[in-house]
Symmetry: C2
Subunit: 335 residues, 2 copies
């Protein structure tokens, strides 16, 4: 390995000058700069990011932490963040918390130990204590998807109540009254807001909700499957089901198929978020989708800005809320 000292020797300058030439070229003489660059070229010198991190106390790594990278939604956001990060010379360290708050916390601490420059986080931890933990974190954090009150961090997400409001109104218009709702983990920001959107819309329309039709599917495939099963095996089963995310929505579709119900003839279905290849799934599912790419873009911009300048880092946290889009499929039918 060729080090900065080799370059310095070859260029006939001190190592501090080489460092200077590397970091603020305008502060070294033209001729000297030239010699140094020559030396760098001829030795094939590559700066050692580890040593740099130790000296600077900050690496050029960015962390991406979310549950379930396999979910297209997070995958799309990751892709976008990674893309922008690479453009700015940052590498992305990805960590999958599998939705477990304790693991997530451990991961964050590890990332911090790596002196990571910043973190994009879709938090799964909840509660005041966790919010404080995030607030006091020394590394810049931009939260996305899941907002946590008290964390006092930038947040990039969608208008979650609106997602289910749209779906609920759609179903109400089609004449549905007994609507099953497969919710996400209670306490989780998006889950609570989406549930709220459903409840408020129903109330606004003057339709009573049968509480037993509101179940918690935990945003997971297995949870969604179990709860959809519960809903659909009832004698007074709902005429329509809303999945609070793509996993639970598709799980409901799967249960329908397994039980021989036709969708939408027997039961209507709508859900939040898209899945890959949804266009080859029969029936085409009616859904509300988030602009994952835009979310990733915003999160990355915000994070990179905070990392780049101390002023930006000190700026008060800000929320960026995007409006989700309704995509009409063929999984819902007039009653």
């Amino acid at each position: 390995m060729t080090t900065i000292r080799d370059v310095a020797r070859l260029a006939g300058v001190s190592i501090s000058t080489v460092s200077l030439a590397l970091n603020s070229p305008k502060r070294v003489g033209a001729e000297t700069l030239d010699r140094i660059q020559q030396a760098i070229k001829s030795t094939g010198y590559r700066i050692d990011p580890v040593a740099q991190t130790l000296a600077r106390g900050r690496s050029s790594l960015i962390g991406f932490v979310s549950a379930n990278l396999g979910n297209m939604f997070f995958g799309d956001i990751r892709r976008e963040i990674e893309h922008q990060a690479l453009d700015h010379g940052y590498f992305v360290l990805i960590a999958d918390s599998s939705g477990r708050a304790d693991l997530e916390r451990a991961l964050l601490e590890r990332l911090e130990a790596q002196k990571i420059a910043g973190i994009a986080l879709a938090a799964n931890g909840r509660g005041e204590e966790y919010a404080t933990f995030l607030r006091d974190f020394k590394t810049p954090i931009v939260m996305f998807d899941q907002k946590l009150e008290g964390a006092e961090r930038d947040f990039v997400g969608s208008d979650n109540p609106l997602t289910t409001t749209i779906l609920t109104e759609h179903l109400l218009q089609l004449g549905h009254r007994r609507i099953g709702f497969i919710s996400g983990p209670s306490g989780l920001h998006t889950a609570d807001e989406r549930l709220k959107g459903f409840i408020n819309t129903m109330a606004g329309a003057g339709v009573d909700i049968d509480p037993s039709l509101v179940v918690e599917g935990g945003y997971t495939r297995t949870g969604g499957h179990a709860q959809a099963m519960r809903l659909l095996t009832r004698r007074d089963r709902p005429t329509a089901i809303i999945g609070a995310n793509n996993m639970t929505g598709l799980a409901a579709l799967q249960v329908m198929q397994e039980m021989g119900f036709r969708c939408p003839d027997d039961v209507s279905l709508a859900m939040v978020d898209d899945v890959p290849w949804s266009n080859v799934i029969t029936p085409r599912i009616t859904m509300v989708v988030q602009d994952a790419q835009k979310l990733g873009e915003l999160a990355a911009q915000r994070l990179l800005a905070r990392i780049a300048s101390p002023e930006a880092a000190a700026a008060p946290p800000q929320d960026f809320i995007l409006t989700p889009k309704f995509v009409r499929g063929e999984s819902t039918k007039r009653l």
Copy 2:
């Protein structure tokens, strides 16, 4: 931050002794060890991985490089590797090459600069020059999915010729003779082998292949879509199509739906690799699936072993080939 020197001072020993206590506890006296551990506990000392990396010349990070993390196949492998790595105290640095060889190479070099402990790689680069590059890489590499002759690295993958052999035989048995084949990027290991499996099986059965029915879909959704379109708009279109991977297979299904062909009544379809939620896709696709979890497990074990001991690191490279599994769906029909 509390450093090793703080601990040393508090325990009344030298920093080298603390380091020793941390790395080979049996080599320090029982009583001293106790005092040091006490000091560590009371100061809340956490070792700095960056400094450790600089001093040791090797980090406790493992790299995972593949194309298209969004593809369930790679996602499953990643999950398994990450799981095992964390168990062994390693963090996984994930990089998505998007299938571009030049980017992949740059990523590998960056990982190396990070003094990464080892890399699990699904290579997209090809050719002798690239093989040499990989062979001479100083960091341990375990390749998976894509084997590269001349790289002389451990390889974990599936019996690729067998994947298409199984599918082809299945279609032949159903009476199909005009079979379209949407291949992967020519030159890519799995793509070439899967194509070979198709060709050899057809030849073995004495069935002539219409060369114009063998197209290259590049393993991508868009490529697959375009090529499937070409195949299906022909007057003498094939009676069955094989997608060499999940992307091209599903793209073909999508084209069928777009063009109003019914699968399998009008055209049969079979493909290599599964996708998430394939069980809610109509028709259930006939496919050959790889055991991604097992692949990840093997790759991780091999890599961790090479990292752990110098003898293992010096061992000659070895291939691990798994047998793929046939999953019969309803997308193929007797002619």
